[in-house]
């Protein structure tokens, strides 16, 4: 028997309120299934399960606020031997797959759905309104998920991101950043990068692409940052209890500003091995979902590094603080035209000021410089990303 506990969804989380069970005792669950919704300071988070089995007893009822580590339910393993395996995350959770981007004009904000899933539009809308992942629904006898397969739960107030209490979120950010500032010996290294080739490549690409496939510069920029980080393992991973654990893959937290003042950095897994188009799809699906307060537990916990991109029309540079227990954060200022020396002349180029904040317990300025130099090289040849 496995004890399914309230997970810690970040360095700053102590407790959360169970809002809803999506599975009932006796239901079969698989790795990556979303089984509950909890409300945290950072919004409503869908909790995934990392074991296979059958839901046993649900010990906590919706509405109760419980500390991290509290047993929420028991899961009975599929076989007696497996019952003794502790609830450790061993495999990749199910991730949103590339899908046609957007648009809410057509469908409610639902999590990404595999193309193979057959669900009627009305069922999809109701599931989204109830915060239920379509993947968690069992199809009817015809193999299609219809309205009959979606529970008719009470109307919940998540449509306007009611899971988001910006005052609470500010407290959570404050707690995490106090800890970062107190515990992590930061250093910052900044480098101005000529990103003109990136913008020229994007302009050419977007001119020939249909509207739905157009790229924003964040997608190739993220890919380049991920590839450059891969070359400097001291900047990608976690530092905990005096030990640095580098991560073989780059799971990139993307700092996302919420209207009204909140900030959250959901993780994009394997940013280094996805194509630019895949990253664009993931970002386009993730950012609106983050703003609605509809993230999944793995997205809150899996980040190995964070990217903070101020974006167009914003300030020149940013000197961010590392999100504990990560060991680096990359800050990109706005891209703007600047005088730039090319050969023996001054030219106008699109320049991005990129800052790397590192943890001196793990790395030092030389590592940051290696990363920034590599990033600069990668951005000079965007077609190779």
């Amino acid at each position: 028997m496995i004890e399914f506990k309230m997970p810690s969804l970040g360095a700053d989380m102590e407790a959360a309120t169970l809002v809803e069970w999506f599975k009932a005792p006796g239901d079969r669950v698989e790795r990556g299934d979303i089984i509950a919704l909890v409300e945290t300071q950072k919004g409503a988070i869908e909790i995934e399960v990392f074991n296979e089995g059958i839901i046993g007893e649900q010990r906590i009822q919706p509405g109760r606020k419980v500390p991290v580590g509290t047993v929420l339910a028991t899961i009975v393993g599929p076989a007696e031997e497996e019952a003794s395996i502790p609830a450790v995350k061993t495999t990749k959770p199910v991730e949103p797959r590339p899908q046609e981007r957007l648009t809410r004009a057509e469908e409610a904000p639902a999590p990404a759905t595999p193309p193979s899933l057959r669900i009627t539009p009305a069922a999809r809308r109701r599931a989204a309104a109830l915060g239920i992942s379509p993947e968690s629904l069992a199809p009817g006898s015809d193999g299609i998920i219809g309205l009959a397969q979606v529970p008719t739960g009470p109307e919940r107030a998540h449509r306007r991101g009611a899971g988001l209490d910006l005052d609470e979120m500010r407290k959570a950010i404050g707690a995490a950043m106090v800890r970062s500032h107190r515990d992590i010996p930061h250093y910052w290294v900044m480098h101005a990068i000529d990103a003109t080739p990136l913008f020229e490549w994007l302009e050419t690409q977007n001119a020939i692409r249909p509207m739905e496939r157009r790229l924003l510069y964040i997608a190739p920029l993220m890919k380049a940052v991920a590839l450059a980080l891969k070359q400097v393992p001291e900047l990608n991973g976690h530092y905990k209890d005096g030990v640095f654990r580098p991560s073989p893959a780059v799971h990139m937290g993307l700092a996302t500003a919420l209207r009204g003042g909140g900030l959250i950095a959901p993780a994009i897994r394997d940013a280094d091995s996805r194509t630019v188009d895949e990253l664009m799809d993931v970002i386009a699906e993730l950012v609106p979902r983050a703003r609605l307060g509809r993230l999944r537990s793995s997205e809150m916990t899996d980040g190995t590094v964070t990217l903070s991109n101020l974006g167009e029309g914003n300030a020149d540079s940013v000197f961010p603080l590392i999100y504990p227990n990560q060991v680096a954060i990359v800050g990109c200022g706005t891209a703007c035209p600047r005088p730039w020396v090319v050969g023996n002349a001054v030219a106008i180029r699109q320049v991005i000021q990129v800052t790397l904040a590192g943890d001196h317990r793990v790395s030092h300025g030389r590592h940051a410089a290696q990363f920034l130099t590599r990033l600069s090289e990668l951005l000079a040849h965007p077609e190779g990303l």
Binding site: A105, R160, G161, E312
Partner: protein, 69 residues
């Protein structure tokens, strides 16, 4: 389409990409970005929404002309 219908279409497309501002009145003289903290991702989704609703192909170089109602 009348002006009123067009305004309504724009508002619906905007609320679709930013459901958290749904129902907010739109000041026709202020940029969407300034009024609703619309960023480039929201904006891209907004123009895709307009395209799907109207069938009009919108070139990237025309995006700067779509900042206000």
């Amino acid at each position: 389409m009348t002006d009123a219908e067009l305004s309504d279409l724009v508002a619906r497309s905007l609320y679709a990409v930013a459901p958290d501002v749904e129902g907010e009145p739109i000041d026709p003289n202020k940029s969407f970005r300034a009024q609703f903290e619309i960023d480039s991702m929201d904006f891209l989704n907004f123009v895709i929404g307009l395209h799907k609703a109207t069938g009009v192909e919108i070139l990237e170089q025309d995006y700067p002309d779509l900042q206000t109602l």
